[in-house]
Assembly symmetry: C2
Homo-oligomer: 202 residues x 2
């Protein structure tokens, strides 16, 4: 709908907390009268720039153990079963390029939610072409026609630019929410507060 | 009160989020019918063990900038003015030893709250003897008789043991809450959830 406030929802497809937000954000945004802009990006290059070779949850095992306990608890409150996938963190490059391709055509949310459920609900790997294909189908896309977009030069360049832009905004984790006035909120536990600020035009 | 559930409140005196919890936890615990155990400890040795020479908020500037914005927002909701102190992170060693000395005598909460207010409300340095003295007075102690406890051998050893114990529990940040059944909660934003679990005996 036009003239409603907009909230940018920055998400990394390999992030457990971004998953929790993705699977509950639409209902909450609707209630708040806020339009969402789904903005897939990559945390890998941002982590690498600060000297991390992988997810901080892998680099700092105590933090990782806690995170899985916390996300399982939070997921349960949302009525979701949640578990660490066999592979973690996953390579989200192809998935993120596809999600970005789907932004303008409007299928990024359905595709992203399908991938989050596959990864953290069923333990599947979103780098697998079969998993990507199933998610595209769930989002109403033809995998044969759509999968090649993961290697499309223009999409690759756009994703690089999006990730650079995220970094320039000071984004260092996911999910990250930014209001039209630039107010930043980090983490699934700030989703309600971000929507409140967006709704109030702050 | 006896027979009420107990929640361990692990806090580092130089931590902004621990400050937010310390200044609101007592009323919430009372409402929930939960007894608190205030457990001062040092994050420095835990950070050092994972290769960090200082606070992650200093090591990762984007995270640091966001943290100050977030804590100021959260403090405002609590009716508090909050600001980055001139020196950050502060050396909390003497302060923490004193707080530990005050645990058994019951003045650790009042002393710790006075230090948090001095540090994040007034920008003072809790390593200064004058600031420690003022906080001791606020907690009803005689500074002249109490300050030497910061160099007491037994207290030093007890703080080392407490910090080691915190590490063994998987504590990697502050504030950290642990129920009697060992359920861990990290961060000021998990305080309500921790009290709920404690109250329900989980």
């Amino acid at each position: 709908m036009p003239n409603r406030p907009v909230l940018d929802f920055w998400y990394e497809l390999a992030s457990p907390y971004a998953c929790l937000s993705a699977l509950r954000i639409e209902g909450l945004a609707d209630e708040a009268g806020v339009n969402l802009r789904w903005r897939p990006f990559l945390l890998g290059p941002i982590f690498a720039a600060q000297g991390w070779s992988t997810s901080p949850y892998e680099l700092y095992p105590a933090k990782g153990r806690y995170m899985w306990r916390d996300t399982v608890r939070r997921a349960r409150r949302q009525g979701l079963e949640f578990a660490k996938p066999t592979e973690f963190p996953q390579n989200s490059l192809a998935a993120t390029r596809l999600a970005l391709a789907g932004r303008e055509e409007g299928w990024a949310p359905a595709f992203s939610k399908a991938l989050f459920r596959a990864q953290f609900g069923e333990g599947l790997n979103i780098a697998d072409e079969a998993v990507l294909s199933a998610a595209l189908k769930e989002a109403g896309r033809d995998p044969g026609a759509t999968l090649p977009l993961a290697r499309n030069e223009e999409i690759r360049a756009r994703l690089k630019a999006e990730t650079e832009y995220a970094k320039s905004l000071g984004i260092f984790g996911a999910p990250f929410f930014v209001t039209e006035h630039g107010e930043p909120f980090w983490g699934d536990d700030r989703l309600e507060e971000a929507l409140e600020w967006a709704r109030e035009g702050r």
